[in-house]
Every structure is written in structure tokens, then in C-alpha cells.
């Protein structure tokens, strides 16, 4: 029998038992949709993170005080007191290829303006920050090198801080905010970045000169980090090694001992984060694939029932000249049609569910061609795999015994 005929016969057989067919296909629909949704959420998360990484700025090298990975791994960031402003200046002086450099400190505190107050992050930085992050102003201007030198009490605020203290969208230039009971004049509002970075919302931050922050707010003479932006065409790995050597020498770290700082390039951060999300995505998708497996078992179950029910039909077909391959293909075709129809509907449902989730929960999701092909391919594979055993059972029947079957 031709494949086309086999297909037509399969469709007829499936339509004979609409409810059963629909319920069996439902297993595949749910499986495929789950895989699509999980992969869509994973891809969405990855794009979001990639966008966030871009806000670090390109060609950026970050030097953090203290050893270890992200977060408080060993003694916590900032517990190390060895990274200084002099380190930053020496790096600027001695390492070629640096475009901008910005020492940084950070604290979380209450900020007061008139009647309102807001608990936020105060970050001490240099005048180079907007250039490093390619970050335009909404109102006013960023503080200058001169402000840094004088430890001026000026502040540039993120849009979230502005919204909280002065009202949404207002221009607060010239107003005074109080940090640790000291007055700071607001001279600028940064445009909205809308991206959280490592749990810290860059728009929910007050930026002041690092000198001011160290002297007037924190009362310390060491830094939390140094952010460096390189000239175009500079090899960041080589520069990272040069900075590390310089800092080890300045901090008098004997060979064999660990660094008391950590240097990361933007590329490194990006690759760590994307590989983490990729792992997560595949983890979620494989959990979803379990339901695909369950759907496949459902197909196998129904096909076995169907073979038993139609034993006489099989006997009849064999007796009028069907070869065993004809019978095998007929039942295999039914299983594959079931799984592929379920798969196709599942792709549609998956699309809808991803869209719905990103609308309702404002999770970002992205249905990729890969995800569609993968889940559709899985559906076909499941159909063939789970359809094969029942089909082989049907094809192995003896015509007379099958016809005799009650």
C-alpha cells in the first residue's frame, strides 16, 4: 500500500474514535506546549540578561576588592581594605590603553527630600561613569572632575529615586536631598535604563563623587571596586594580567598567595551568566520533556488497545493480501499522525501560553525556531518509538488466528 493510502486509512481509523483520539493527542499537546513554554521562558531570560550585560558598557574591566566569585563568597565584598584610590591612579598612569577609569564605593541608606524619604543605594563614582556605560542624562548634567576633586556635595539621581522623592517625571534640578543628614544638591537625573543588574536597580541609585562618599558618608579610605573602560582594539585579557601584576606588586602579595582582588571582564561576566541561563533552560525543558514521554506512553497504550480491538480487522486485511509491512506501517502511521497532530497543536498552544505568560506575569519569553523544531521532532520521535511496539505486534499476527479472535 502506498504511504498516501496508509495515511488516508490512518486518518479514517482515528476519526472513528474521535474522543479517544483527542484525549490521546492531548497528552502530546501538553508535552510539546510545556517544552515550548519552558524554552521560550529560558530564551527570554537569556535575552534579558544579555541586554543587562550590555548596560555594563563595552570593553569594560571591573576590579573588585576581595577574592572569590560574585557575592559574599569569602568574607564578603568590601571586607577587604586593600584596594585604594592610589591603586586606581597608578593603574591609570602605568597601564596603556585605558580610556576611562572610575573608582567606586557603595552604601545603602535612607535618602530624605523635604517630606519624602526613600531607602536606596548610594554609589560613589567618578565623572567617567556616563561615558563608561554610554548613559545619557534626562535632566541637568553629571558631576565633573572638579566636583570629584573638591568632594562636592552634589548628587545625580536615577529615575526611580526621582520618582519616589519628587514625583513621577518631574525635574528636580536644584533641589536638596539629605544623605546621612548632610545636604546634597541634585544636579542631574539619569535617563531610565530599566534594567536590573545583579539584583541592583541602576535607576534606583543615587550617584555622588567617590571622594565625597568616602570622606563624608563612609569615612573610609579604601574602595569597593574600580571600573575601567579600555581603548578600542585593546586586548582585555592582556590588560587584565597587567593590572593583576601591578596590584599584586602594590599590595605586596607573595608569589603563590591568592589575590586580594578580583578582575572580571565584561565578556567573562556575560559568558558566566549566559551559560547559567542556558543550563537552566535545558533543565526546565527536560522536566517538560517528561510530560512528552508520558504523552508517548499514552499513545502506546491506546495503540495497544486499538490493535487488540481490531485483531479481526488485521486478520481480514492479511487474508485479502496485506503484507506484514502494510499492517506495520498502518499502525505506525496512526501513532505518528496522532503524535504529530498533537505536536502541531502543542506548538500553537505553546506559542499562546508563552505570549500569555509574558503579558500577564511580565516575564520575558521568546519562542525560537529551534524550540519549535526540537519539540516537533521530539513528538515525531515519540510517535515512532511508542508506536513501533504495538504496530509490530499487529504485523506479527497470524491471519487465521486473528480472524478467529473474539
Amino acid at each position: 500500500m502506498s504511504l498516501l493510502m496508509t495515511f488516508v486509512v490512518a486518518i479514517k481509523a482515528l476519526r472513528r474514535n474521535t474522543m479517544r483520539t483527542a484525549l490521546t493527542a492531548l497528552g502530546m499537546i501538553i508535552g510539546v506546549a510545556a517544552v515550548i513554554v519552558m524554552m521560550a521562558l529560558g530564551s527570554g531570560a537569556r535575552t534579558t540578561i544579555e541586554a543587562q550585560i550590555r548596560t555594563i558598557g563595552s570593553n569594560v574591566i571591573m576590579v573588585n576588592a576581595g577574592a572569590g566569585g560574585f557575592g559574599p563568597v569569602r568574607g564578603g565584598q568590601g571586607a577587604t581594605t586593600t584596594l585604594t584610590v592610589e591603586d586606581a591612579e597608578t593603574i591609570r598612569r602605568e597601564i596603556p590603553g585605558i580610556r576611562y577609569i572610575s573608582p567606586g564605593v557603595v552604601t545603602r541608606t535612607q535618602v530624605v527630600a523635604g517630606t519624602g524619604n526613600w531607602n536606596t543605594v548610594v554609589q560613589g563614582t567618578s565623572e567617567a561613569l556616563p561615558a563608561i556605560r554610554s548613559w545619557p542624562m534626562q535632566f541637568g548634567s553629571f558631576f565633573t572632575e572638579d566636583d570629584v576633586r573638591r568632594s562636592a556635595r552634589v548628587a545625580v539621581i536615577g529615575s526611580v529615586v526621582r520618582d519616589q522623592l519628587f514625583g513621577s517625571g518631574t525635574d528636580p534640578i536644584g533641589q536638596v536631598i539629605r544623605i546621612h543628614n548632610q545636604p546634597f544638591r541634585v544636579i542631574g537625573v539619569l535617563s531610565t535604563k530599566g534594567q536590573a543588574m545583579f539584583g541592583q536597580d541602576q535607576d534606583d541609585t543615587v550617584y555622588v563623587p567617590y571622594t565625597t562618599a568616602m570622606k563624608r558618608l563612609l569615612g573610609r579610605d579604601y574602595l569597593r571596586d574600580i571600573t575601567i573602560s579600555t581603548e578600542n582594539g585593546v586586548k582585555t585579557t592582556e590588560m587584565t594580567q597587567a593590572i593583576a601584576a601591578l596590584l599584586r606588586e602594590r599590595h605586596a602579595i607573595p608569589p603563590g598567595s591568592e589575590d586580594d582582588f578580583m578582575i572580571r571582564t565584561q565578556e567573562e561576566i556575560a559568558s558566566i551568566l549566559t551559560s547559567t541561563t542556558t543550563t537552566m533552560t535545558y533543565l526546565l525543558a527536560s522536566i517538560a520533556a517528561v510530560s512528552l514521554l508520558v504523552g508517548g506512553i499514552g499513545i502506546m497504550n491506546i495503540m495497544l488497545v486499538s490493535v487488540t480491538e481490531r485483531t479481526r480487522e488485521i486478520g481480514l486485511r492479511l487474508s485479502v493480501g496485506a503484507r506484514d509491512v502494510d499492517v506495520l506501517l498502518q499502525f505506525l502511521m496512526e501513532a505518528v499522525v496522532l503524535s504529530l497532530a498533537g505536536g502541531a497543536i502543542g506548538v500553537g498552544v505553546g506559542f499562546g501560553a508563552s505570549y500569555g505568560l509574558s503579558r500577564l506575569m511580565s516575564w520575558s519569553s521568546l519562542v525560537t525556531v529551534d524550540a519549535v523544531l526540537l519539540s516537533f521532532g521530539c513528538a515525531a520521535a515519540v510517535g515512532i518509538f511508542f508506536g513501533f511496539y504495538p504496530a509490530r505486534k499487529a504485523a506479527a499476527l497470524d491471519p487465521i488466528e486473528a480472524l478467529r479472535y473474539e
Binding site: M1, V320, G321, R323, D326, P399
Partner: protein, 268 residues
């Protein structure tokens, strides 16, 4: 198949046995059957229930393999043929009418008859339907093409099964009690179809029946007993279904005529 004309042996069976083993017990359904059927013959197979008639027919139809003995069909030793070859023979050379009708339920008469054609390559859908329609017309069911088996009478279902056996144009028709479930008039109609096919198309027919009068429509009666051939002889006074049908119709018309005159007489 090897060119066979009337008089050539089509079926050549020698020492055929079939033993079913059910656990410890061995049922010897056939105990050595030797038989020759020549092309164009019309043979009736009779015998008491359990004498092995159906078992023998299944072997003739290449639906089952014998325990021992040889079966040559059109000159070929069936035991030597591959499964694929056997499927082709079942499809193209043999038409089988089962003791039960064995029609596909919830499937139209036309599609039921079309079924064997699906397993023969190179036929378009239109061609297949035309062939199925012709076969149904030949058994007088042209007006029941779209009926499901459940919407047909027993005799009509039997005729669909016959049409299905004939649609591929076989050289050998095997019918296992084709009139078992039919009343006498419908039985004669079916025998009429067989006799016409036998005469007009030269179709070789082997038919199982345990009704003596049905066997008399054939030209030769082979009688089984306990898996052996008990007797094998030509039919002395062969019956002709067409003639009997005509007589039946005439008698029926006369009866109707009588009733009508009766009514007229009373009214008058």
C-alpha cells in the same frame, strides 16, 4: 500464475495433514488429504461439523501452512513461497468468502469491496472505486454502495463478501459455507451468482456446505470425514439456480395473481 486453461490441474494436494497442538492434546484436523481440482471446476465440499473442511479451505487459501504433505497451486509448491509471495497470491489469485462474513464494521459496502485493491499497487482511487462498483453490481447490490454492514441484511452482507472475493479477478474462489446463514431463496440467489461466474468467467470454485441440496449446484461433491476424504463423485442431477429462481418468481407472481383475483371476486 502459470497459464491455466480448463482441464489443467489448478489445485494439486497430496497427503496433506494439519495437527493443532493445544497444550498436551494434539488435534489431528486433517489426516492425509489428496485431491486434485482442475481449472474451471465447481467442487462442493461436505462433511459433518469438525471434519476439517474449514481447516482445508484455509490451507487452500494460503492463510495457513500444513503440518505435512504438499500443496501445489498452479504448478508452484506453496510451502516454498515467501510470506510476500503468499500475500500476493491471496491478493490476486484467490478470492476467499469466509464462514462468517468478516466485513469491516462502520465501513461502506463499497469500501469493504475496495479493501483488497488497496494492497495491489498502481491503481488510482477512481479505478479502484469503479472496480468495486462493478463487483457489487455483479452480485446485484448496485443500489447499496454506501450502506454499512449493519444496514444490510444477512444475504446482502454475504453478497458484499462475495463481491470482495471477486473484485481482484481471482482464478480460484474459495467459499466456506456461503449460504450457512441465508434463507432458501437467498441461498439460491448466491448459488446463481456462483454458477454464472463458473460458466461465464471459467472461475474455479471450491465451496463448503453441509446442505445436500446446495451441494447439488456444484458439478462434483467431495465428502470429508474425520480429516479424510470419504467420497468424491460427480453430481448426478445437477441443479441450475437460474432456472429455479425463474420458477420461484413465476410461482410468486401466480400466488399474487391468485390473491388479487380473490380480492376482486369478493369485492364483486
Amino acid at each position: 500464475m502459470a497459464a491455466s486453461s480448463a482441464g489443467d490441474p489448478l489445485v494439486l494436494v497430496d497427503g496433506l495433514t494439519k495437527t493443532y497442538t493445544l497444550g498436551e492434546v494434539a488435534v489431528r484436523a486433517l489426516r492425509g488429504i489428496s485431491l486434485t481440482v482442475t481449472t474451471g471446476e465447481f467442487v462442493a465440499l461436505t462433511g459433518p461439523s469438525g471434519s476439517g473442511k474449514s481447516t482445508f479451505m484455509h490451507l487452500l487459501g494460503c492463510l495457513d501452512r500444513p503440518t505435512s504433505g504438499t500443496y501445489r497451486l498452479g504448478g508452484r509448491d506453496v510451502a516454498r513461497l515467501s510470506k510476500r509471495e503468499l500475500a500476493r497470491i491471496r491478493n490476486q489469485e484467490i478470492g476467499f468468502v469466509f464462514q462468517g462474513f468478516n466485513l469491516l464494521p462502520r465501513t461502506t459496502a463499497l469500501e469493504n469491496v475496495e479493501l483488497p485493491l488497496l494492497y495491489r499497487g498502481g491503481l488510482s482511487g477512481a479505478r479502484r472505486r469503479a472496480m468495486a462498483r462493478d463487483a457489487l453490481e455483479a452480485v446485484g447490490l448496485a443500489d447499496r454502495l454506501d450502506h454499512h454492514p449493519s444496514q444490510l441484511s444477512g444475504g446482502q452482507q454475504q453478497r458484499v463478501a462475495i463481491a470482495r472475493a471477486l473484485v481482484t479477478g481471482p482464478t480460484l474462489l474459495l467459499a466456506d459455507e456461503p449460504t450457512g446463514n441465508l434463507d432458501s431463496r437467498t441461498s439460491i440467489e448466491v448459488m446463481d451468482i456462483f454458477q454464472r461466474l463458473n460458466v461465464e468467467r471459467g472461475l474455479t470454485i471450491v465451496l463448503v456446505t453441509h446442505e445436500r441440496d446446495i451441494a447439488e449446484y456444484a458439478a462434483r461433491v467431495v465428502s470429508f470425514l474425520d480429516g479424510r476424504v470419504r467420497s468424491d463423485r460427480p453430481v448426478g442431477r445437477r441443479r441450475t439456480a437460474a432456472v429455479e429462481l425463474e420458477n420461484l418468481t413465476v410461482r410468486h407472481d401466480e400466488a399474487l395473481h391468485d390473491v388479487e383475483t380473490d380480492l376482486e371476486v369478493r369485492r364483486a
